[in-house]
Subunit: 200 residues, 2 copies
DNA sequence: TTTGTTTTGCAACGACCACTGCAAAACTAA
DNA sequence: TTAGTTTTGCAGTGGTCGTTGCAAAACAAA
């Protein structure tokens, strides 16, 4: 009996990256299977046999985004320095990444949030869970800062994390609406003026 | 020759309000003509003869939103008090309006921003223009404050207006994701800590 | 009643949607 | 060569999309 079958003519990773860029640019519901197949340079039957259906492909693309181009929300908080420095670095990186010319503007996760409608509740839930994970990363970083006396004990970690996330999500919409990199930079900088005890 | 024809069986304003609520809830692309017609309790032919096509109906619904339920972004800035008071009032009203139980959560204008795709560029432009109008209202209020020595002369009015709008848009996404009214209230309050010279 | 005007109900249009069936193609192992 | 396995190309599925045509219905003026 034989083992290998007909070899596939395309790279799985590359095709997934292409799909991600398309979903990122146009959103889940406005990206058609035929658009995807054409951009990925494969047939729809190959698409289905390789990635399952449209929802699975989207979720896999979303996870690729989170672990790749969108991973800065996690990684920028992990390097050294104070919590304020961490989030300053996060906003700076975000301003840069959200306005790059070689990829869609804005954050794929944020832009996916209001996109779904009836019948797609499962996807809505999946997106929300990933968003919540990101927020939890903020919370954990702030809680650590509190333990390390890097933040005053009276600070509401939950609230501060939410505010920072709110700012970041707003920046995504601004980027999608055409805001410039330098403008986003200044917005992030200004937001950090609300940091507990930020000003002299 | 006769003047009047067959009288219409429905109220134009009421039907438009119904359409607005549907668009607000599900977005432009995910609201079908049949869904609209059924909710408005009219036939599709009546819908087309009364409102033109789907895009015109959406734009009319959007303007109804702006002049009605979404009008607080303008009106709350017009009453007396300092500029800081104005925006504090704006955020408070927003927190209340974005989380009301008797209407869709979030701001219809903000949620419409990332919704459109290829072929709908005209609509995208129309939405962006209305968003820009709103931002301009912020700017004007801040410019007035500067003239009235209510804001220090070194303040970047453009930037502050953008930051406040960014926060408001972020709050819309948070509301859509299920954030509570009191939580949004606190987020708005915290954002205003970034106001020039806000803290003692 | 007749004529003119407007709305209504209903059915249909072509275009697109996500998705699948099927057989030929392209490989590996025997 | 042969048998077994997997992918590919392509056509086609039923369903839904926004939009329209048409004739009957319901009114006002002549």
């Amino acid at each position: 009996m034989g083992y290998g079958g007909r070899p596939r003519k395309f790279e799985r990773d590359g095709a997934l990256e292409t799909a991600m860029l398309l979903f990122w640019e146009h959103g889940f519901e406005q990206t058609g299977i035929d658009d995807l197949a054409k951009a990925m340079r494969i047939s729809t039957s190959s698409l289905y046999s390789t990635f399952g259906d449209k929802r699975q492909l989207f979720l896999e693309a979303l996870d690729l985004y989170r672990s790749g181009r969108g991973g800065y929300t996690k990684t920028t908080l992990e390097v050294g320095g104070s919590a304020l420095d961490s989030f300053r670095r996060l906003f700076e990186t975000a301003a840069r990444e959200l306005t790059r010319g070689d990829q869609p503007r804005g954050c794929m996760l944020t832009l996916s949030l209001p996109t779904f409608s009836q019948g797609l509740e499962e996807l809505q839930v999946e997106v929300s869970r990933r968003r919540a994970e990101s927020l939890d990363g903020f919370r954990k970083r702030l809680a650590r800062a509190k333990r390390e006396k890097d933040l005053p004990p009276f600070v509401d970690v939950n609230l501060l994390a939410s505010f920072l996330m709110t700012t970041l999500m707003g920046m995504s919409l601004q980027a999608r609406s055409g805001a410039s990199r330098s403008h986003l930079l200044k917005i992030g900088e200004l937001a950090l003026q609300a940091w507990p005890g930020a000003r002299p």
